[in-house]
Amino acid sequence: MNYKSGICTFCGTGCGHLLDVRGDKVYGVFPMQNHPVSKGRLCVRGWNVHELLNTPEKITTPLIRKDGKLVEASYDEAVSCLVEKLKKVSPDEIGFLASPRSSNEDNFLLMKLARAVFNTNNISLDSDPGHRISLDVTHGGTGMAGMLGSLEEISKADFMLIVGIDITKQNPIIGSEIHFAARKGARVVTIDTRNTQIAKLSNGFLQIQPGAYKIAIAYMAKVLVDENLADVDFIKKYTEGYDSFVKVLSSLKESEVAEKTGVDIEMLKTAARDLALSRSAMVFFSSGISGFDRETVSYIFNLYVMAGKIGKEGCGVNPITGINNLQGSYDMGIAPDLLTGFQSLSDGTVASKFGKEWGVNLNAKAGKAPNELMGKLKALVTVDHDETIIRNVNEVSKMDFVAYIGSYQNNCMNYAHVVLPIATYVETDGTFTNTERRVQLAKKKIEPAKNILAGWQLLSKIAEKAGAKWSYGSAADVMKEIAKLTPSYAEISHDKLAVGGIKTGGVNRFDVEKAGRKIAFAAADANFAVPLASEEYPILLLIGESQHYWHQNNLMKKTHIPLREYNATLLLYPQGYVAISPQKAKELNVRDRFPVKIVSPYGSMETLAQVTDKVKPNTAYVAYFVDEMVTKFFMEHKDVLKRGEDTTIPVRIVKV
């Protein structure tokens, strides 16, 4: 049988697939029918994964920069160079940028390398703070850091709220599950600034003003209070902190809601009532680069707690990760202040448990994320992803030393002094944790190209070169150490992971009966301000992602069919596009693909207009993926971009 089972590693859904493996090549892919999440479905990315795996744009040898040019080297030379350079820099000035695409094993070892070998806590994911917010809120409220519902229970939810996530594009198979449930009678309501596909497939769609998600959710909570629809028995028995949340809500004036959100408040009322009166309900929102700010996530969490729609079958607050191992990366302690399984670095018992296992004294003072230290860092070790590099080109190119570790060629190599190739996910064993905390094993299916090391092998080699004694014989050995140090991974080992994997903590979803504690309402403030357009900048510009090419599109660019789809857009709009409404186009006297200029208080860019009814007349939308746009225009808006999905820039658009 040349088809070998595995899991797709594009997005956080974690679909099952079978790869057509012959010799040292992957010739095709087919969906896995018995997979508990994907049940025989894949999206455009998943159906074309073999094209990526066959790309000639892999890194085939270690490289060292000499006289400004990267030249071939052996692993020994390149690793020695890396260790030598890092040892010259003070630990405070070293940063580690991990990738949410790496396996749990590779990320765990990178974290260990940073902390136990190079003595720095400056480690983070590549500019992906959005999911941390979701983790903080769910962990603070329930003790479980991650999605609280289960994807397998979508079919059991009577009511679903989709907030600001283009889910049939970002995580298509989860979108599909929601669509199937809707067709069987579940009520689905979408709140979004854009008329997305899931909005069209919903029973109710509220096209909201940019930046007004929080106020809309807060108003729904207020309706529950005012109409006595909150689940008082549930609140009394299982929760704490309700009263102070109600107090915050009381400062929300109903008269402001319609104007600030731009939607009919009767529709918001109906949605709130439907939520309260349903037997079971879930909420989905994007977690990651396009996630919400802390306040919005807190309000979403609190709304579901007060409706009693948490910790029960078919219920849950579900932050959806856009990248395959975003959840697993945080689980592996890829954060300045965390060890594995959301254990705090500042907790003495935890730190000494790790210190004892690793034979070192850990520095208990939290570090900082490298992208917050730009300008101060002298050395950077980065894995697989180039987001931060793109946004901080100037600072990164001034650093004394930059190392890049990855399987595929990438923009980041242009700034690297040492490049270290590692095996792809089909060339070594590794586990990945999907958005619902499901840990799945992708087994080695082919031999890596000549002498290429697996991530865990390379990181061990670096550690050894730096004087540490690591002795992992396999990725499974690494998982044994993870399980030993991490309560939520205690039951996980490679030999136990069959089709469908095991969820962390051994629990399918958060269960209010087994929580062993009360659910705490998240702290929420009463600031209901929304970004406002002005006469000078009358349009609110939104930033988003697109289907075939999220982020810098580094992987999709190495395929054929998804690349063509990317080009289908890019050939039409070579410098990217700004989506505007037909009405706005008429006002500006432009048609589709006419050049326009976007002007904000911070900068401007020229691009082409895409005329679409997906956006309202007073809003505009740019896809985040186009390199040229990100580097030029968005670099001028770095601070604004930190706000995630709620990122809005007031602009004016003029005809060129």
């Binding site: 049988m1 040349n2 088809y3 089972s5 099952g16 079978l18 057509d20 010739y27 095709g28 892919v29 087919f30 969906p31 896995m32 029918q33 018995n34 997979h35 025989g40 479905r41 894949l42 999206c43 455009v44 998943g46 159906w47 073999h50 094209e51 066959n54 790309t55 000639p56 049939t168 298509p172 198979i173 979108g175 599909s176 669509h179 199937f180 067709r183 596909q197 069209k200 497939l201 069959a498 089709v499 289907q547 054929h560 069919i561 063509r564 789809e565 080009n567 289908a568 857009t569 050939l571 039409l572």
Partner: protein, 351 residues
């Protein structure tokens, strides 16, 4: 017509293996998923396995196939282009009649028109096909509505029908007959022919209780699709649910669309690869100048069903393009597999 004892039916595959690479239904152990794949060990073949998730299309038209390679001689400025693809002889064992019908549709496309596809022809010309009558339908089946089952009527070398303790073996070609004679199979008589007819009748009867998923209404819908008398709103309703994944085309036994790419493999070498393509993709119908006649997703969707069901397309295949296997229903994340589309159109007609 011949007979073979059930316990000896794999002798046919063993005999074929002497000359051919044998492909057939195999259960993948870890996932319990049936795939139509090459076998090294004949014992892996499972004639009782469910309809393979992966149709046999890939044996003739692989998902990702090198068809040509280039070598550029820089000094002499000469290019050496040579055909470069798998030329092994293949035998398909235990094919279901819907999948054979898919092969016949592909034959019409790749071989039956003005241009003959050499790569396909090479795969096809040396092929030996053993079909297997379905005595029980599966949940998603509707071959009785598309005239493609439950038993194969043409195009096979040997056709098997399970008659209880033995298989009826029908030869559909000289090649098939020669193999049956070589194996010394005993001859069947009229009673076996009747027994086969009974098996088919019983199988068709079971569609009512087992294949409940799809009560397709194909012929009436063919009429509507052909005449274009379908409300645009129906296509919009269908298009809204399309997630543009391409799965329906990839699992369809009769879908033939492909993309060509020329990846550079070295400083002076390149391959020409052929890959499966899908009309659901936006880039599929984009023209060189940027114009896309099927830009909205519903336009792309309506063209797929036009291709599968319209009369003008049927003239090309001499039958509907849909073979009633129901796989598109399995894999579609939008729940708009062909049977559902037929249902929506029927609903609209009945209004």
């Amino acid at each position: 017509m011949y007979l073979i004892n059930k316990s000896q039916v794999s002798d046919i595959a063993k005999e074929l293996q002497k000359e051919y690479q044998v492909y057939g239904p195999v259960m993948e152990k870890e996932t319990k998923q049936c795939m139509f794949v090459k076998v090294d060990d004949i014992a892996e073949l499972d004639l009782n396995a469910p309809i393979p998730a992966l149709p046999p299309k890939h044996t003739l038209f692989p998902q990702f196939e090198r068809i040509m390679s280039y070598q550029y001689d820089k000094k002499n400025q000469k290019v050496d282009i040579k055909p470069d693809f798998d030329v092994s002889k293949k035998a398909l064992f235990g094919l279901r009649s819907c999948d054979l019908t898919g092969v016949l549709c592909m034959d019409r496309f790749f071989l039956g028109q003005e241009f003959v596809d050499d790569v396909y022809k090479n795969h096809r010309k040396n092929m030996f096909i053993v079909t297997n009558t379905c005595n029980v339908p599966f949940k998603q089946c509707f071959c009785v509505c598309t005239d493609s089952g439950p038993s194969a009527q043409e195009g096979y070398d040997l056709n098997l029908t399970d008659l209880g303790d033995q298989y009826l073996v029908e030869a559909g070609s000289d090649k098939g007959k020669a193999l049956a004679e070589k194996l010394g199979l005993k001859k069947s008589d009229d009673s076996h022919k009747k027994a086969k007819a009974d098996v088919i009748d019983k199988s068709i009867d079971k569609f009512d209780s087992i294949a409940k998923d799809n009560k397709a209404w194909i012929s009436r819908v063919v009429n509507r699709v052909t005449t274009g008398l379908i409300d645009e709103k129906v296509w919009e309703y269908i298009g809204n649910q399309c997630l543009e994944c391409g799965a329906c085309s990839f699992v369809c036994p009769s879908c033939t669309c492909f993309n060509i790419v020329d990846p550079v493999t070295g400083p002076e070498t390149a391959d020409r690869m052929r890959t499966w393509d899908s009309c659901s993709y936006e880039g599929y119908s984009r023209m060189a100048g940027g114009h896309n006649p099927r830009h909205p997703v519903e336009d792309r969707r309506s063209k797929r069903f036009f291709c599968k069901l319209s009369y003008s397309q049927s003239k090309k295949y001499l039958r509907p393009g849909c073979v009633g296997c129901g796989r598109c229903q399995w894999v579609c994340p939008g729940d708009i597999g062909l049977p559902n589309v037929v249902t929506y159109i029927r609903r609209d007609i009945q209004k």
